[in-house]
């Protein structure tokens, strides 16, 4: 049985280091490509080829095959990570990251930790009005969960991650790294087992070997916290992803999430 826990544990570190040569070319994967294009990685492939006057988009991922005809005059495609909330079906805008081990935090303390998150890859076609999404794929196992109770809670995309003190080495096609600044502004020791994030605030950045986000978690009490994202990259050489939720955001849509049903 597959597990969606991140593979950056010490047990799997050797395997990852062995794979790093393969996926260190992620920089040539994410970004803009002129047509025709053909990209493949372990487990999936994407190609756009000219067939007569039209273009044929073909994608194969974990045995799932998609073919689409494209009528376009601008021969450019953009591939970048998007918010991991679209597959298998877009039913929520919340991501819940459960920590493998609970995190105990002292009152008044601020700490920086690293967790992982699943990657979904968006394929955008260029047009005169900008970029439009044509496909989203992922190599990760999908799972949903409920945060809170059925009446007042929210459905969230579920992901389990270890807590790391430093930036973990992960495959940027499959996992991203989130730098989480945790601060406990309450007067008690608090145990944190999970963090819930709102997709409307997510800011994804990518480079040749990393997909990353920066977030904050302010612990307000034993059962309450506030999460938010920062609009700056983890490293200077990173490129801002074209997100899906940000473009749909209204002025009234709050990007923060108040975790008031337990942390």
């Amino acid at each position: 049985m597959k597990t969606n826990a991140d593979q950056s544990s010490p047990r799997s570190l050797d395997k990852e280091q062995g794979q790093q040569r393969t996926y260190s070319k992620a920089g040539s994967f994410y970004g803009r490509h002129n047509l025709p294009v053909s990209l493949s990685r372990e487990g999936f492939s994407i190609s756009i080829d000219q067939v007569g006057d039209t273009w044929l988009y073909q994608r194969e991922c974990d045995g799932d095959r998609v073919e689409k005809k494209l009528l376009t005059s601008i021969n450019m495609v953009l591939i970048n990570p998007v918010e991991p909330l679209n597959r298998p079906k877009e039913i929520t805008s919340y991501l819940l990251v459960e920590f493998e081990r609970p995190l105990m935090i002292e009152p008044g303390v601020k700490r920086r930790i690293f967790v992982t998150f699943p990657i979904e890859i968006g394929v955008f076609m260029s047009s005169k009005r900008g970029f439009e999404i044509i496909d989203i794929l992922t190599m990760q196992k999908q799972k949903f969960t409920l945060y809170g109770n059925p009446r007042t809670g929210v459905i969230c995309k579920y992901w389990k991650s270890s807590i790391h003190a430093t930036e973990p080495q992960v495959d940027p096609i499959r996992q991203g790294v989130m730098r989480l600044n945790v601060s406990n502004v309450s007067d008690h020791w608090v145990e944190v087992t999970r963090a819930v994030f709102n997709a409307f605030g997510m800011k994804l950045f990518y480079s040749t070997d990393l997909v990353a986000m920066k977030a904050t978690m302010k612990i307000l009490g034993k059962y309450m916290a506030e999460t938010d994202f920062s609009n700056s990259p983890l490293r200077k050489d990173m490129t801002n992803s074209l997100e899906l939720y940000t473009s749909r955001k209204l002025i009234v849509t709050a990007p923060k999430f108040i975790m008031e049903q337990g942390i």
Binding site: M1, K2, P88, K89, I91, T92, K141, Q142, K143, F144, T145, L146, Y147, P150, R151, G153, V154, I155, Y158, R248, K249, L250
Partner: protein, 274 residues
């Protein structure tokens, strides 16, 4: 045609034409604006909220047009209030059911036990809410039949809203043979649930031996799912469970009865000893 011909009081033909023009412009503006809003907010606002916004804007513009036409038609709004009050009483007595439906419709919009797009059961009708209007609510049954229910009935009848809560639970009873390993069966079923994205991680699923039946060891399988996705999962999982169990040599039990005939003692003894 003389445009300054007096129709009644100080109102001329030109005034009447102006009022018609105001209404035409208002309708075109209201329609245009609601279409624009529906297009631009389609992906940003839920369907039911969008309906309320567009209806409020549509009727708001028409209301402004009505108010704007009063001075042109020489109507005094304060006089209307008195006349409207009396008129309202008369109408109220004459059409109690319509007023009842209208008031119920207003309360339905305020209380909002159902929203457009919800899967519901109202009295004897089950289906998806297509529209909530001032007088009536329309459903599309699961067979695709249009049903119009007066709001008074909706308001006073019991309403089951299948998607009012974000998650719901459903379950099966799976009966396996006494000779099969129930622990193994439970493990197989739990793995299947874990592998399905729509079977929620939390609240956790429950799989356990519920009772030792006459013909089978009965295993209860319960799982939580997003309320809007439950039916698809329910249709999918039972057959998957059956196939997965059979693949591992665990069979679904069927009712059977062993009958011993009194004149066949040898057969019975042989069976007992085996």
């Amino acid at each position: 045609m003389r445009l300054n011909r007096v129709v009644y009081g100080d109102v001329t033909t030109l005034d009447l034409l102006s009022v018609i023009l105001i209404f035409l412009v208002a309708v075109i503006l209201a329609k245009g604006l609601t279409i624009y809003l529906r297009r631009s907010l389609k992906e940003k606002v839920s369907k039911d909220k969008l309906q309320i916004i567009s209806k409020a804007i549509y009727y708001g513009i028409l209301g402004i047009a009505v108010l704007a036409s009063f001075p042109i038609l020489g109507i005094n709004p304060s006089g209307l209030l008195v006349a409207g009050g009396i008129f309202g009483i008369i109408i109220g007595f004459a059409s109690q059911s319509i007023v009842g439906n209208l008031i119920s419709g207003v309360f339905l919009m305020m209380e909002r036990p159902i929203k457009i797009g919800n899967s519901v059961r109202i009295g004897e009708y089950s289906g998806m809410v297509e529209d909530i209007r001032v007088i009536s609510t329309s459903l599309r049954t699961w067979d695709g039949i249009y049903v119009r229910i007066p709001n008074e009935k909706v308001f006073t009848d019991s309403i089951i809203n299948y998607v009012a809560h974000v998650a719901r639970r459903f379950g099966y009873m799976v009966g396996i043979r006494y000779s099969d390993d129930a622990d193994k069966a439970i493990s197989i079923i739990k793995n299947l649930i874990e592998d399905h994205p729509m079977a929620l991680k939390n609240p956790p699923p429950q799989v356990f031996v519920d009772n030792l039946g006459d013909n089978a060891v009965n295993i209860v399988v319960r799982m939580w799912t997003p309320a809007k996705e439950w039916y698809g999962l329910k249709m999918e999982m039972l057959w998957k469970i059956k196939k997965a169990l059979e693949k591992e040599g665990i069979e679904i039990a069927f009712p059977q009865r062993t009958v011993w005939f009194a004149n066949e003692p040898d057969t019975r003894e042989a069976a007992d000893s085996s």
